[in-house]
Structures are given as C-alpha cells and as structure tokens.
C-alpha cells in the first residue's frame, strides 16, 4: 500500500515537472509533425474572428475551394473569438508557436513589424501586387519600405438617409447636403417636435460616428497625427469641428440626446429604420444590417460626409483588416501562397458578394458594382464605397505613441460633457500626447 502511494506521488510529480519544463520540446515536436498530412500536403493554420453569419460561411467556402484547387497546401481554419484573437496570437508568437496566417488590424501593422511580430513579406510579394489595392490601404502595410501584410477588407464612413422622410419634407435629390451648413439646414427641416419634445431628429453627428472623424473631416483629412507623425490635435479646424458638434448638442439638448441614446443602447429597434432619426452617419457596412432588419419598402440613400465648407473636401475615415504571417510561422512561403489566393480579385469579389464587406482590392469592388448577384442597392453601395475611397483616410497607429487615444478621448469626453471648451480640451490633449511621445523616445 505504502509503495503504491509513493509511486503514485512520484509519478504525479514527474508529470508536473514534465509539464512545466518539457513544454518547449513538446511544442517543437507538435509543430514538425503537423507540417505534413498523410498525403504529403503541408498543413497551415489560419486564424480569424469570423465565427458566425455570412463571413464564416464564405470564408469556409473559400478555404475549401483553395484546398481543392491545389495539392500542396492544406489550410486549417481556426476561429478565435474577437476579444482574444490578437492577445492569443501574441502569446503564441512569443512562445514560438505562431499560427501561419492571421487576420489582423490594419492600423497596427507597422507596430507589429517593428516589434518583430510579423514576417517581412518582401521576398514573396511582387511589384504588381500593390497596384490592385487602394493606395492608402497599401501604405499601412509597409514598414521601412517592406510589406508586412496584405490588405483584406476595409470600410468607409458615409451618411445614410431615409428617402421617404426626405420626400415628405420636400427635399429633392439635388438638394442633398454637401456642406456642414447645408447638413444643419436639411436636418432641421426634418426635425419634428411635439410640444417641447423632439419626436424626430434630423441628424445628430455623434450617433454612430466618432468626434475624431468629424475632426479629420474638418482638417483636410489630417487625423490626430499627420503623415509625418507630427501631432496635429490642437488645430483651428479641429477646434471648430468640436464647436460645431457642441452646437448640435445645444440645439437638441443634452437631455434629449442622453434619453435617446439610452433607448438606442437597449437595441430594441433601430432608430433609423423606425424613422426616429432621418439621417445617420455610419460605417458603410451598416448596409448589411439594413438588409437584414429593414422592411421591404424601406427606401434609403447614401451620401458622402459633407465638407466643412465648399472645397475643404469630403474627407472620411476607414479601417479594416489585413492578412499577416506571424513572426516565426513555420513555412512563410506556404502561408503567403494562401494569402495571395485570398487577396486575388476573384476571391475578394466572392467574399464581398456574400458578406457585403468593402474589399481592399479595387478591382474586386469595381466588379461588385456590376455584380449580377447583388441587388440595385447592393451595387449602389459598392459604387458609393469605391468613390468615397478617394477621400477616405486610414489612420495607422503612430509608432511613437501607440496608446495615445486614451489621452485624446479623455479630453473629448470632457469637451462633450461641457467641463472644458474645445480650445482648452484640444490644447490639453495636444500637451498630453506630446508628453507621451517624449516618454517613448
């Protein structure tokens, strides 16, 4: 009995020790054994956060197509939840056990390139590749002149408007607002009041769009940092943008806004579909939600964000995702072969057609404008997106201060709460971010 106990305890301690110290050898074994399947194919792991709905279906279909199209590489699709995927991949990279291809955020490619979390793809990418993408998307994937990722999908901010309400208010298509002043005028034509309460809001700029986008729109497409990573927070145009937002706030009143926001938050009904809001500024992807939830006869149109004043530019903002080979992936060449497939115009078009995402490939979007499978509205959306991309700015994370948004948002919150004027708030934000940049140098 005693002996049994001793062996048992010893065995369990041994297991513990093995688990703790033997992990590195165990890992490399697993990696090398999974490299080839029984039929001689290389196996690669692909991580994304598309775990449900149209995106999941279409990506699985595309992976199947790819696996059948050739006999060298077998792609394993691994869904990782949105909240975990990037921290998980970071620990996997640190542990030397990275996935082979991963869907990553477009704004932080250079940051990961600098920190050696992504593989330099210049060996595999040929000259022609970059030409198919919108140039501002391609800019984000380059670090010191070398590509570290390939753009996949993207988005851009626009304004959706309710055609029926516009007709009722007597606003013709040619009178659609193109400047901030016109937007205000149009919005107030659409407002409806019952005694003192608003029963319809023409437009409120912060519903589904951030103050940062309006600041960028006002300031010739310059975000908080300009192209050369100079801090451009406290500028005349941005101060005016926030003052303009405050005007809207004053007009509708904070109580009205808070009350309605709380109602929207409950998610019971979409205020744009129900007609409570006549215009809504949002990511163009909102179209897919309208397709799903709006009744058949709901008619809407899309216009670009208006310009601050005539000639200042209809600047908009976009984001998106890229395909990346994490640093230390076992076979970057195989990984890139799959990435190349995913970023080809045909596959891009297929993904767009099924998911209504705006794709990174310009050719794919141009083809989607003509795609027979899509409805008129769907084609119109791609048309709009393609045009809007001339004025769409992507705002990659500045390497000198990757976490600066915490500082800027604090000041914007204070401005919107009325505890600071736009001038004071943005001046403080400018100072705080300058301080952060100094700390990092």
């Amino acid at each position: 009995m005693k002996k049994l106990l001793v062996t048992g305890v010893l065995a369990s301690t041994a297991l513990f020790l093995l688990g703790g110290c033997g992990s590195s050898s165990a890992k490399s074994n697993a990696a090398s054994s999974s490299e080839k399947t029984s039929d001689g194919k290389k196996t690669i792991d692909f991580w994304s956060f598309w775990g449900s709905g149209a995106r999941k279906e279409v990506i699985e279909e595309i992976i199947d197509d790819y696996n059948q199209s050739q006999d060298k590489i077998q792609v394993n699709y691994k869904y990782q939840p949105w909240g975990d995927i990037w921290t998980k991949s970071l620990s996997a990279i640190t542990a030397g056990n990275a996935p082979d291809v991963i869907v990553q955020d477009i704004n932080s490619v250079a940051q990961r390139a600098e920190a050696q979390q992504a593989t330099n793809l210049s060996k595999y990418v040929d000259e022609e590749t970059s030409k198919d993408f919108y140039p501002q998307l391609w800019d984000t994937v380059e670090y010191k002149g070398d590509p570290y990722a390939i753009p996949f999908n993207t988005d851009t901010q626009v304004i959706f408007y309710n055609k029926k309400l516009f007709k009722e208010a007597g606003i013709a298509e040619k009178d659609l607002p193109t400047t901030w002043d016109e937007l205000e005028k149009t919005a107030h034509q659409l407002d409806k009041k019952d005694k003192k309460e608003f029963t319809r809001i023409g437009f409120y700029p912060l519903w589904n769009l951030g103050a940062d986008v309006w600041a960028l729109n006002a300031d010739n497409g310059t975000s908080w940092f300009d192209q050369d990573d100079k801090i451009k927070i406290d500028t005349k145009n941005k101060v005016e943008a926030l003052e303009w937002i405050q005007d809207w706030q004053d007009y509708y009143g904070k109580d009205t806004i808070n009350k309605l926001e709380a109602e929207f938050g409950s998610g019971v009904s979409d205020p744009f579909i129900s007609g409570l809001v006549a215009m809504r500024a949002q990511n163009i992807n909102y179209y897919s939600s309208l397709m799903e939830n709006a009744p058949e006869d709901f008619d809407f149109g899309v216009i670009p964000l208006p310009e601050k004043e005539k000639g200042s530019g209809h600047w908009s903002w976009g984001g998106g995702f890229v395909l990346e080979v994490p640093y230390g992936a076992k076979d970057p060449e195989a990984s890139y072969d799959f990435i190349k497939y995913l970023s080809s115009p045909e596959v891009q078009e297929k993904f767009g057609e099924k998911s209504f995402d705006i794709m990174a490939s310009k050719t794919a979007n141009e083809n989607l404008v003509k795609n027979e499978q899509l409805s008129d509205k769907g084609r119109m959306i791609y048309q709009m997106a393609d045009e809007n991309f001339k004025n769409t700015v992507i705002t990659p994370v500045p390497l000198a201060a990757p976490d600066y948004t915490t500082l800027v948002n604090e000041q914007i919150d204070q401005i919107l709460l009325g505890t600071k004027t736009p001038k004071e708030g943005l001046a403080d934000a400018q100072k705080a971010v300058e301080n952060l940049v100094k700390q990092n140098n």
Partner: protein, 303 residues
C-alpha cells in the same frame, strides 16, 4: 537547532512529498513568472524583439511623467477605499438578517447569494441596463421619491459609485462566509446576555461582532487585494473598453493592460505590476500588524 528523531524526519519527508504538487505548481506557474516580471520591470521588454536593461527608467517615467499612472492609481484607490468597507458592512448586515430562524429563510438566503453565482460579464451587462440614466430601474426607483438620478456610467463623477453599488449588490459570497460563522456562535452566549437584559444591539455589539472578527479580517484582506485588481468591470462596462467617460474608470490594471497589449510596452507594464504588488504587500502587512488589536480568536491563547 533541535535534531529531529528518525520518525519525525520520515514524517517530514512524507509531508513534503504530499505538498509537492502545490510547491512545484507554485514555483513553475507563480514564482517563476513573478521573478520574471521583477527582472522585466528594469528592461524595455516588448515580448518579441527586445529586452534591454534600462535601469530605473520605467519607474522614473511612471512617477514623474505618466499622468495616466496617477489617474489610474487615484481611480483604483478611490474604488478600494469605498468598496472594501461598504461591501464588508453590507455583507455582515445581510448575514445577520439572514441568520434569523423564520420560515422560508433559505429562499431569501438563496436569493441574496444568487448574484455571487452569476458570471461576471452577464452581471455587468445587466447592471448597465439597470444604471441606464433615463430608462434604468435604479433611476426609475429614485424617480418615485422625486430624486432625479445621475447619469451613472455616463457621468465621470458617478461611474465609480455605480460600480461600487454593483459590487455591494453582488457581495453574497462574503455574506455566506459570515452566515456560516454566525451559525457557530454558541446560543448560550445570547441566552445569558438576554438574562442580563441586553438588547438586540447590545448582543450584536458584544457577542456577534467579536466572534466574527476573524472572518471580517479575512474578508477585508482578500477584498482589498481583489479590489486593487479591478479590471473586467471597466473593460466590459465602458465604451470599447477604454475606461471612459473621461478616463474615470481607467483603473490601474486597465492602464497596465493598455501598456502591455496596445503599446507592447511590457517592461513598463511589469514595472507597474511591481508597484501594485508593493502597495498591496504593504497594506496587507499593516493589516496583519493591526489585527491583534481588534481580531478576537476564541479558544486561542489570547493572541
């Protein structure tokens, strides 16, 4: 040093053998990483490409330049200062009430314990709805008394009180501990107190409270440590996990997380975790030193 007899030695060997799974687990999964963070806090470690020794630069930066460090520390200390006493008082109060012998008491006990069983994120979402400024139950309730409630999670002055309110509501776990202890308080003490003419308050103050001080002590220490580690609440209940509005919910650990996983400044995050460790260590030490003055162990030798 006294030499151990053979039998004692043998016994000691056995003891070590039996606790070895814990020791090994502790060394590999706790002590190892902790020592690594101590070392990392003096470097510019970023997880993947660099780990250069930079001396005290991280700490200097933290104390002299990083405003958000102070802001997050203030937010966290504010939370701890109110959360620990309030939840403790409330759970003692609740346990005393639920210690009555009336019909259906177990139903009430279950009801008050239930929040402690519910998983974190579900509770946070529920509370975000309860705290909704215009349509939320809490402000509706306040409205009945003609109090116009604050905007809670949207007003930087009310965000932390809102979280504390939620924490009080879910203090059922501690309540259960107190309840278990209360049941062990000998009936005879109350009976003799009643004979001496003590009232409800007198009994509570002179019998109940002293006898549960060990558990209060335990609860204060663990919930102080737990409160310093607050993170999830701020991550889930604020817009995009940013700790807003106006960084009023930017807690220490959230700032640390941002530094580690947004800025990849792991060395700095490790240095921050060292400071938090020191703060908690000192507080726990003070608590332990103060304990003999107010914690009463029955059956002990008076210590």
């Amino acid at each position: 040093m006294k030499r151990l007899s053979i039998r004692k030695k043998k016994e000691a060997r056995w003891a070590y053998l039996f606790i070895s799974p814990f020791i090994i687990g502790f060394v590999v999964f706790m002590l190892g990483p902790m020592l690594f963070s101590v070392i990392g806090s003096f470097t510019d470690y970023n997880l993947t490409s660099k780990m250069n020794f930079i001396g005290l630069a991280n700490f200097r930066r933290m104390f002299l330049h990083d405003d958000l460090f102070w802001k997050s520390l203030y937010n966290t200390v504010y939370f701890v200062l109110f959360n620990v006493p309030l939840t403790t008082i409330f759970s003692v109060f609740l346990a005393t009430i639920l210690n009555q012998k009336i019909r259906g008491i177990s139903i009430f006990r279950t009801m008050f314990y239930l929040p402690a069983v519910l998983s974190g994120v579900a509770v946070y979402i529920l509370w975000m709805q309860l705290l909704s400024p215009s349509a939320g139950l809490i402000n509706t309730f306040l409205g009945w008394f003609n109090i116009s409630g604050p905007a809670w999670l949207f007003d930087p002055n009310w965000t932390k009180p809102a979280l504390i309110l939620m924490k009080i509501w879910s203090s059922g776990g501690a309540m259960l501990l107190y309840l278990a202890t209360l049941q062990n308080v000998p009936r005879s003490l109350y009976e003799s107190a009643a004979i001496d003419g003590a009232g409800v308050w007198g009994k509570f103050k002179n019998i109940t409270l002293p006898l549960i001080t060990p558990i209060i002590f335990y609860d204060v220490i663990t919930s102080t440590i737990g409160s310093f580690q607050i993170f999830q609440e701020a991550y889930v209940m604020t817009k995009n996990g940013t700790g807003g509005p106006a960084n009023s919910l930017l807690f220490y650990n959230l700032h640390m997380w941002n530094k580690a996983f947004v800025a990849f400044d792991m060395g700095y995050a490790m240095a921050m975790s060292m400071i938090l460790f020191l703060i908690v260590l000192v507080l726990t030490f003070i608590n332990l030193k103060l304990a003999p003055r107010w914690v009463y162990y029955s059956g002990g030798d008076g210590k």
